[in-house]
Amino acid sequence: MTNFRNNNLAQAWLVLVIATVFGTALAGIQIKLNPVIEANKIRETMEKIPSLILDPSQAADIKSHDLVIQSRVIEIEKNGISKFYPVYDVHLKDGSLAGHVTKAKGQGYADKIELLIGLDAGGNAITGLFILDQKETPGLGNRILEKPWRDQFVDQPSGTTLVVVKSKTGPNNEIDGMIDGISGATISSRSVTSIVNTTIADIRPRLLPIIKKENIIRQENE
């Protein structure tokens, strides 16, 4: 029996040596490259933040390094499951709160869709929407990436639940809360809209404490 085992181990010595050597090499590469990869992810988010909070005209003037961005995580417990939202509170150079950006994830048609949602200070209206990651159908679902479609979310009041409609042309054009669905990609349009709705409903109450604190500071200054 021991002979047999020894024999098996002896036969596999090359596999074991190779596994150890390669494992060590990969660990080294992971240690070396992981900070770069993480920095890439953070940079992608940070680069988008100004355009999600500020008007296009403002965004041109204010560079991202003029903004003070503080990150925090809001934890929401729903039906016994904890959800985590990374939230970036954006302050202008003079210290006033410009808005919040949050990262949200949800199921799309093909795979998870990852979004950045910009809200004004206090979270009363949407100021911007950006799709970080998606694998929707090219030519149909991936049109959620297009700016004209995403811009429908801008200036929507966050108190109303957004609804996807077939076509909002006509008298409905000016009604808040309507998002024009992409023809042929209803599921992708609905997914994005529902991620936005859920996220705002989840985090909006939790954005407020910071606003109150800021108001207190302002009042003290006055």
Partner: protein, 205 residues
């Protein structure tokens, strides 16, 4: 061993006579999945070339130590290591491209082209021959991917390498950048290559 092809023969055979995609029909998963544009196709071809070259060299170096019944484990371990290196490297230095290619870079591990070259050439021949074989096969694979990607990108978006080559009036054939376009293009090009081959052999006989 006398009947094994030389390094030069291995190199030449990989490019056209034994082209991985058009002749051996290997590595079809990336061939179908990432050829909707030239840039992802070339990135994939380069990643496969890197993995193929490294795996062939390593396997050839340890070919005398291989036990027949454990060789596939060793091949897979070696390939997986170099694929992981390529994947991490892309995520660190070509972040957007790595997001575009998504799961297809890790999936190089199961690309049978590479394990086939380890089995057929690297585990039997010298390091030099194995390297020549890897380079030849990688060029062949790159040629196949770019030929399919060129057809799909030009017809599907009117662009080549992201630059417009067809007039604006061209109605983009969206189906060409969708999965069915991959099957259509591969099938038609495969037929074309075989047809040319038949005509050539008829002329010579």
């Amino acid at each position: 061993m006398a009947d094994q092809p030389t390094a030069f023969e291995r190199f030449v055979q990989g490019i056209l006579p034994e082209n991985p995609v058009y002749r051996q029909l290997l590595g079809l998963c990336p061939t179908l999945a990432v050829t909707n544009g030239m840039k992802p196709a070339l990135t994939m071809a380069c990643s496969v070339a890197f993995v193929l070259l490294c795996a062939n060299i390593v396997i050839s170096l340890i070919r005398d130590l291989l036990k027949p019944h454990l060789r596939i484990v060793v091949f897979t371990l070696t390939i997986a290591t170099f694929v992981t290196i390529a994947d991490r490297f892309l995520a660190a230095y070509l972040f957007q491209m790595s997001k575009t290619l998504g799961p297809y870079i890790p999936l190089i591990i199961v690309n049978c082209l590479i394990i086939c070259r380890c089995e057929v050439c690297a585990s039997k021949q010298s390091v030099f021959t194995a390297a020549a074989d890897a380079i030849g096969q990688a060029i062949g694979f790159g040629l196949a991917l770019s030929s399919i990607a060129a057809v799909r990108e030009i017809l599907g978006t009117g662009m080549f390498f992201g630059m417009r080559v067809l007039p604006e009036v061209w109605p983009d054939w969206v189906i060409m950048v969708l999965p069915p376009g991959a099957f259509l293009t591969l099938g038609l090009l495969l037929g074309l290559v075989n047809w040319v081959g038949i005509i050539k052999s008829r002329r010579s006989s």
